[in-house]
Each structure stands twice: as structure tokens, then as C-alpha cells.
Subunit: 220 residues, 2 copies
């Protein structure tokens, strides 16, 4: 373990992290921000629960948790995060990857996870105020562009193959007449499909449907 004027410390392995930094996490008084690829970041059993329990003892702490979009593919992770979000912390999902876990406590101390080395991960604890502030600045910039977990799970009505085709045709600005011929279905059925789609998107007009479809990323 190397020390820079006792400001910046490198910890090796989660055990050491838990021993040295857990009190630090639990000691959060105002703000606890965290970015990670996936909630299952703490390999060490119990460490996670310990920290969560400590945090729940201080409900005044604002907690912000940011994850990469890959968690959305993991149902149990989504459930876990939804549960967490129900207990106070704000949870957002970033459209992209978060390769390095980062935690900042009370705007004073940052912990950055690093590479594996000799089977253990390294964690760097940073206290230099300007560096912590710089990390936070980037964090908030990223946070601002991420979307709330609730919005993420609410959306994406999971539509079928044909519905996607129809959306594509609508997006091309094609008339119903031409679109239904292209799909090899009758005009009546095509419009039925569109109506179903609009109901699914909770849209009152086709304009609104286009809007929603774009918002939900259902169309390129």
C-alpha cells in the first residue's frame, strides 16, 4: 500500500477496501454518488449489505447511483435497482458503458476502482479537493445525460416483427395505401395495426405517435 501524504491511497483487494473504506462510506453525511457498470460489483459477500444498512441509518444522505446500460439486460439486477430506488437513492441508467467504478462521498473523498492485480482489484482513494471536484463535475455531466431507471423500465412496449416494419414504413412517410401493399396485408388490417400501435404508444395522433416512437428509441 503506497501513500501520498496520506491523501491518496491505493488499496489492494476488496477486503482491504472494506476494512479501510467502509467506515468512510458509512460515514457519508450529505451525499453519496456512485457510478458502476453493474450493481453486482462487490464480490465480497456481506460488504454490500453492511454499507447499505449503514446508509439507511442516515436517511438524510442524498444518494445517486449511475449504471451502464448493460444492467437493463439483467432482470435480477433491474429488480434490485428498482428496490433500491424505492428506498430513496436516485438510480439512473447511462446509454453506454461505465468501465471504472467510481464513488464519491460528501464531495470530499473519491474511490476509483482500477485493474485487477495479482487476483485482486485495486482501489484508489483520492482526497485532493480539486481532483474530487473534477471527478464530480464529469460525474454530474454524465448523470445529467442519463435517464431515470423508472422511465427506462416503463418504456419499450416490446413490439413484434410486423409492428417494427410498420413503424419503419410510417417513419419513411409512406401512405397507408402503399405501406399495406408492401406488407402484403389489406388496408383495413394495416390501419388496425397502426391503431394498436398508437394505443400501445398512448398516442392520440400520428404526430404524437412519431414523437413517442422516437423518444422510446423504437425507430432509428
Amino acid at each position: 500500500m503506497s501513500t501520498d501524504l496520506d491523501q491518496n491511497v491505493v488499496l489492494r483487494g476488496e477486503r482491504e477496501l472494506v476494512e479501510r473504506a467502509a467506515p468512510l462510506f458509512a460515514g457519508a453525511r450529505e451525499e453519496f454518488v456512485c457510478a458502476a457498470a453493474h450493481p453486482r460489483t462487490w464480490a465480497l459477500p456481506g460488504a454490500r449489505e453492511q454499507i447499505i444498512a449503514a446508509r439507511r441509518a442516515h436517511p438524510g444522505v442524498r444518494a445517486y447511483k449511475l449504471y451502464g446500460s448493460e444492467v437493463l439486460a439483467d432482470d435480477t439486477a433491474v429488480r434490485l435497482l428498482t428496490d433500491i430506488a424505492g428506498h430513496g437513492p436516485q438510480v439512473r441508467i447511462l446509454d453506454g458503458q461505465i468501465p471504472h467504478e467510481t464513488i464519491v462521498v460528501d464531495r470530499r473523498v473519491a474511490v476509483i476502482a482500477g485493474e485487477m492485480r495479482a487476483g485482486d482489484r485495486e482501489f484508489t482513494v483520492v482526497r485532493t479537493p480539486a481532483v474530487v471536484a473534477g471527478i464530480l463535475a464529469l460525474y454530474w455531466a454524465t448523470w445529467h445525460n442519463a435517464v431515470d431507471l423508472a422511465d427506462h423500465t416503463a418504456e419499450v412496449p416490446a413490439l413484434g416483427e410486423q409492428s417494427r416494419d410498420i413503424l419503419a414504413l410510417l417513419a419513411d412517410g409512406m401512405k397507408d395505401e402503399a405501406a399495406c401493399r408492401q406488407l402484403g396485408i389489406s388496408l383495413r388490417t394495416y390501419r388496425r395495426r397502426v391503431a394498436e400501435l398508437m394505443e400501445l404508444l398512448d398516442a392520440d395522433s400520428r404526430f404524437q405517435a412519431g414523437l413517442r416512437a422516437r423518444s422510446l428509441g423504437l425507430v432509428p
Copy 2:
């Protein structure tokens, strides 16, 4: 000036920054990433040009420049950045603020601008690998969600007050009949406006118009 094992250094004032870190910037061999609120960050005359000239001498260096959305309001800044983008560096605009300037050179050294102190700004130079990597991770996450300057200047057809109202009404899913009454104009004129809007958006159908309006961020 305090030193942590000569790894992390705090520099006071731009003069010291230029003296100590300019060679570092100019020495970039692979990658030069930078985030700032505004390109007019270097108060010291000449420093900026010096660095740019040095960088142009090494065209192999990939340069990434990220700015806050406030620069879009500054015409001269936009022109400057467009010029820069024409010379190789990628320039993106983030939808939000970037309160702390950050520069990372060759994935090895990070410079973070801090507070004013005694009339001078402080700059912190970080070399700790994990911290630099963590900063970069957040940087790229942010970068990924920012949009290219060129896209930004190309889009946004700059529509008037009433057009925005009409977009809002369309987005509400309101019928033309109701919308025109709300605006206090005739149905005929309302539809004229909508037709103009659709031409502006290059849309063949209202669905497509909704799509485009959303893509261009013309509607919340």
C-alpha cells in the same frame, strides 16, 4: 506548490501551468482529451496558440474536445470551434454544464482546473494511473452522450414563437380544430402553419414530422 511523491502536483495560476505543463501538453503523442465550459479558458495570451501550434506539429495525435452547451450561444466561439474541428480534433457539445476544465494527455496525465485562490486559478496535475483511468472513463461516458458540433450547427431550423406553440399542441395530440381555437387563428391558417412546419422538417406525414421534431429536440 505541494507535491505528492512528485506524482500529483498543484500548480497556482496559469503562468505556472504554462511553464510546467505546456511541455506536457505539447508532448502528447497519441491522445489529447479536453473538457471545458468554453474555449476561452486560457486567460494568458499566447499560451493557447503555443499549445495548438505544438499539437499541429504532431498530427497523429487524436484530439477530443468537449464543451458545455453554453458555447452555442457565443457565435465567435462556435466559429473558433468549427475552425478547430476542421483541423482534425473532434469537437462535441454536451447538453449541460462543464464546471471544471479537465485535460488528459496520452491516458497518463490529467490536469484539472480548480478554484480561484488569491487571484489565480489552481490546476492539479494527476498521474496516478487508476485515477487518470477513472477520469477518462467518466470522460468517455460523457463524450458518448454529447453530439458533434457539426450536427449541432446544422440542425435546429430556428423556428418562431408560434411554430413552437404549434409543435407543442401537436405534441399534445390535439386536433386541428381545437388547436387553432387555442391559438386564436383560423383552421385554414393553422393548417398552413403545420404544412410550413412539415416542409421545414422535410416530412411527408405528420408521423414523420413528430419523429423529426423529436430528433431535433424541438419538443420536450
